[in-house]
């Protein structure tokens, strides 16, 4: 873990910090601008594969690794951190799909890094008329879902629009949530792996964001995009619980992004107060001293919150991801796993079913609910800390602080997004209530017995 942190910090200090403002400005002028050099440099530090399972060539991490990387990068630039975070988010559903994707997309991504032409992933959940709705299983029942996956011979055809998709315009592969029956989205939401080079896939626009601009947020259109059966991630209809697991995994790292933003603002304003002649004498003010101490407190407690959550998520899901059966499969040479017959089995309904059963054997709904709730708690709390600390740092510096003002303003703009993405803070807090205060069990695991859209029990 410390090695990963050191790599992330090296990258942040050496490549990110000095370029953050310039990239933010360029993306402000042209939201389609994207800095692939930074992606290549980050890939060289292992920042595209900390989540990739070891058999596919990665570090096999989960929420804790993602969180550590996110805090380090976000202290330098949360927008650039988000490029790597959104890539990990896109990959997260594949981890739940078991070994089926090790020799497909995941090992392909690692190969693309080795060829110094890294490919990115993205996760597409939000729709124009459904933001919060698609991130809560109950709201999903009444959601205005406008996308649809239609079963055809050999796979599905995807139609509709996804919005605000981080990395959406630059990703080669996307995990996309769409219902097979829009009238029953909660029961039929399904995760699909989509190749951005597929016919019918398009980027209809890239948003002008207030902050975190280095990572583009795109509107994506799907016009009868064909997805073969083998690219259904998990089982058909398991999209809603898969979304909840993905959110449990991603909200702690979002808390870490927010903590990194707060830390970045604190470090910058402290350095300015200590070193800049323009700030001479300010540290003598008790108000300034109290503000700095309060920032330290907030950042420390925020970090504790996201680390607690990440520990809980890793403990809850780790049993399935590192189960002896999975580890044994990892010992099988890749050349064997690539054989047609082996791959056909790994992609079979039987293997998908076995993955779900393994999940149920190693954890349960209550534990998953607790992990989700703690992640939601961390995300909402850390995001508020990021807003308050960046705002206070900017107020200490004032308008005349020179270069640092631009950096603090950027972090303040960046911070606001953490209160919105991965579910608004309000939605996250309602999940904290349900999971921790009300001790409700939220449906987070795919059911053991599922009925497919054709009526057959799988």
């Amino acid at each position: 873990m410390e090695s990963l942190r050191a790599h992330a910090r090296d990258f942040a200090d050496g490549e990110v910090r000095s370029r953050a403002l310039e990239i933010d400005r360029r993306c402000g002028d042209d939201p389609r601008y994207f800095d692939w050099d930074l992606v290549r440099a980050g890939a060289a530090h292992g920042l595209l594969r900390f989540l990739t399972p070891a058999p596919a060539g990665g570090a096999g991490g989960l929420a804790m690794q993602a969180s550590v990387v996110m805090e380090e990068l976000s202290a330098a630039c949360p927008g650039i951190a988000l490029i790597f975070g959104a890539h990990a988010l896109g990959m997260a559903p594949l981890l739940l799909g078991g070994a089926a994707h090790w020799e497909g997309v995941l090992s392909g991504l690692v190969a693309s890094e080795r060829a110094e032409s890294p490919e990115l992933m993205a996760c597409a959940i939000t729709e124009p008329e459904a933001g919060t709705d698609v991130e809560d299983p109950d709201l999903l029942r009444r959601a205005r879902i406008s996308t649809r996956a239609r079963r055809v011979r050999g796979g599905f055809r995807l139609t509709g629009t996804k919005r605000f998709i981080s990395n959406g315009s630059v990703a080669r592969w996307l995990t996309v949530m769409m219902p097979t029956d829009p009238r029953r989205p909660a029961d039929t939401l399904t995760c699909f792996l989509v190749d951005a080079r597929s016919e019918g896939f398009g980027v209809s626009r890239v948003e002008h964001k207030m902050g975190q601009r280095a990572c583009p947020a795109a509107e994506l259109t799907f016009e009868e995009v064909f997805v073969p059966d083998r690219y259904v991630v998990g089982r058909e209809g398991d999209g809603a619980p898969e979304t909840m697991i993905v959110l449990a995994c991603s909200r702690a790292p979002v808390g870490a992004i927010a903590t990194g933003i707060a830390r970045g603002a604190y470090e910058r304003v402290l350095q300015w107060l200590e070193r800049d002649p323009a700030a001479r004498g300010l540290l003598e003010h008790q108000h300034v001293q109290l503000e700095l101490a309060w920032m330290q407190e907030e950042i420390h407690l925020a970090r504790q919150a996201y680390m607690d959550a990440a520990t809980e998520v890793d403990a809850t899901l780790g049993g399935a991801l590192s189960h002896p059966a999975v580890r044994a499969l990892g010992l099988v040479p890749a050349s064997v796993r690539r054989r047609h017959a082996v791959r056909a089995w790994l992609e079979s309904d039987l293997a998908r079913e076995a993955t779900v059963r393994l999940l149920h054997r190693t954890t349960d709904e209550r534990a998953m609910t607790r992990a989700l709730s703690l992640s939601s708690l961390a995300k909402a709390h850390c995001a508020d800390v990021a807003m308050r600390v960046t705002g206070a740092a900017l107020e200490l510096a004032g308008l005349h602080a020179g270069l640092i003002r631009g950096e603090l303003e950027k972090l303040w703009r960046d911070a606001k997004l953490t209160q919105i993405y991965e579910g608004t803070n309000q939605l996250n807090r309602l999940e904290v209530y349900r999971g921790l205060s009300h001790r409700e069990t939220i449906r987070c695991l795919p059911p053991l017995d599922r009925v497919a859209s054709d009526g057959a029990k799988v």
Partner: protein, 337 residues
């Protein structure tokens, strides 16, 4: 006493309101994005309506407006665009501080700005010459002249063409961008001989009070937009205003806006109003973006701009923590035997 009748006052306020809605609001995004044509066009209309001169007497082409009436106009303008409202405020404050003789030489559509020389600035006078730098003077870029104002000292008026004065655009300016900021460099600039107007001492008070009015206008706009959106946007099968998570925020925004602006002719009142309303504006605009969700974070709705504008109100003319110190110091001075 102002010579303006209640009817004329109501007419002026309505004119400002209509101008903000019809002319400023539609151009706010363009001006924020740096469209100079839109900015110049808006300023020409401001000048034609006499808004920048409104506080001056009729002999100087003004409307002889009272400060509270002027602040009400500034607040209405801020509903259209906070940056233009600030330019009007800066201009009115500057013109109040300029000596009558010099006022005769200023063109009706000229844009002068009051530049506070306070926290974080570095300006000195040696041997009758000004030296130093002001890193971020809001509204100064492209202005026809500056009036430097420091508390307890008579303001100094300087035409933009004065030798030794350099104005460089502050490209990083985050908020109130229709009042383009400049870094001001003063290199051995001779202090003009003309004494400033007696009202010059009040110019800073006007600036604090006016910033409160702008913050209030920005916050009202944010609340109005958030309310409208919350009624139209559905999640969970109902308009989002039906969710307590949203209605609580909207109610809190409304509550923060119920207090009227004080008659801010007194420095302590002006400071207190600025602290209260700019803090409230930051909270209200931040919550407005939250009501809009992801859409509010994007440039298209204009709500994130309100948040940026409000934050600049909190930092101008000085950050609120400095203002709080100043407020207590004033109270202690008054309480002293």
């Amino acid at each position: 006493m102002s010579a303006v009748t209640p009817t004329e006052r109501a007419h002026l306020l309505d004119t400002a309101r209509q101008f903000a809605r019809r002319e400023l609001a539609p151009r706010a995004a363009a001006m924020d994005a740096g469209d100079h044509t839109a900015l110049e066009d808006c300023w020409a209309q401001v000048a034609a309506l006499g808004l920048s001169h409104a506080l001056l007497g009729e002999e100087h082409g003004g409307a002889d407006l009272d400060v509270p009436d002027f602040l009400a106009i500034v607040e209405e303008l801020a509903l259209g665009d906070g940056g233009i409202a600030l330019s009007v405020l800066l201009s009115a404050a500057a013109l109040r501080a300029i000596a009558p003789d010099q006022l005769q030489t200023i063109q009706a559509d000229g844009r002068w700005v009051l530049v506070p020389v306070e926290y974080g600035t570095d300006v000195t006078i040696r041997n009758g010459r000004l030296e130093g730098r002001i890193a971020c003077a809001l509204g100064a870029y492209g202005a026809d002249g500056l009036v430097l104002a420091a508390e307890g000292q008579l303001p100094i008026a300087i035409p933009a063409s004065a030798p030794g004065l350099a104005l460089d655009r502050d490209e990083a300016q985050m908020g109130l961008r229709a009042a383009p900021a400049a870094s001001v460099t003063l290199a051995s600039l001779m202090v003009p001989a003309e004494p400033s107007a007696p009202a010059g001492a009040d110019a800073l008070v006007l600036l604090w009070a006016g910033t409160a009015a702008i913050a209030r206008g920005i916050a009202r706009r944010a609340r109005d937009q958030a309310f409208e959106y919350a009624c139209a946007r559905h999640q969970g099968g109902v308009p989002i205003i039906d969710h307590d998570a949203v209605s609580d925020m909207l109610a809190a925004m409304g509550a923060k806006l119920t207090l009227p602006l004080p008659a801010a002719t007194d420095f302590a009142n002006a400071l207190a109003a600025k602290i209260a309303y700019t803090d409230a504006a930051v909270e209200i605009t931040t919550d407005a973006v939250q009501v809009f969700g992801g859409t509010g974070y994007m440039r298209e709705t204009g709500v994130e701009k309100l948040m940026r504008d409000a934050k600049y109100c909190q930092l101008f003319p000085q950050p609120n923590w400095v203002a709080r110190n100043r407020l207590i110091a004033l109270e202690r001075e008054r309480a002293a035997p």
